[in-house]
Symmetry: C2
Subunit: 159 residues, 2 copies
């Protein structure tokens, strides 16, 4: 979908909940649309926009991300690196995506797999819990780190 169309949708969603579509909010959302990296921390966003917008403070970035999360425009993620990360919440995605986190180098790769529908029913029945969303994270080793691990293990065994 075209970026400008997405922005219009986001604007609408902000307005219809009676929040103001300020320049700052637009710029922050634009950063997500423009960034090659999908998983941005508050500091990342701040760095991305700061050169062209030195007047936007870090606190505003935090407050905007918090707002966007509550409006479900973005999703708050935790990859265990001590800071929150955010990604645009693509409601149109038929299959939700998840994250493979490399324990060696920290690289995060996305992975599609949708099993919510089946599980929603199962969990609802068994636990009296109405599932709204879920997060699935895999921890492992990417091919590069896996290779390094093997080399490392061989060295240890050779001692």
């Amino acid at each position: 979908m075209k970026k400008s169309v997405i922005m219009t949708t986001l604007k609408k969603k902000i307005r219809e909940r009676n929040y103001k579509f300020t320049m700052q909010r637009q710029i922050i959302l634009q950063a997500f649309l423009d960034s090659k990296e999908n998983h941005l921390s508050a500091e990342d966003v701040f760095a991305l926009i700061h050169d062209s917008n030195p007047d936007i403070g870090l606190a505003t970035v935090y407050r905007s991300l918090e707002l966007f999360t509550s409006l479900e425009l973005v999703k708050k993620l935790d990859f265990g690196d001590g800071r929150n990360r955010y990604e645009l919440n693509d409601h149109n995605l038929a299959h939700s995506h998840h994250h493979l986190i490399c324990l060696g180098c920290g690289k995060v790769v996305e992975f599609s797999y949708n099993f919510l529908d089946d599980l929603k029913k199962k969990v609802k029945k068994e636990n009296a819990f109405n599932i709204v969303d879920y997060q699935l994270k895999f921890y492992g080793y990417c091919s590069v780190c896996e290779k390094n691990n093997l080399v490392q293990r061989k060295k240890i065994l050779a001692r």
Copy 2:
């Protein structure tokens, strides 16, 4: 399994990696064994042991939990409440368990479902990623909060 047997196993695992089984480490592990609550933050552990062991500092609790995590004696969890939580890593559990996090009241319920084996193969093949572990979190509403939500929605609609 008996608590004392578990403790012996934990002791062994610490010793065989050439770490010392100090009184502090034992007391912290014991807190997990004794606590009814499975998901403890560093502060929780500190509070649990502080009355009987006022000499154990919070920094030691943090350092121990970090060590235990690296030794895979405990698992580090994030429920989005701004602090890390830890639970004993039960390697004997045939089926791993996951967490249902109530968006209304924050209650966390455990839920068993094992699908790692199938997915491990699939992910390995498709993404060149060797999966070691995974975390699955569901967000939703427990029966109490769901009921409150419904009441709330009715009120809003009645306006």
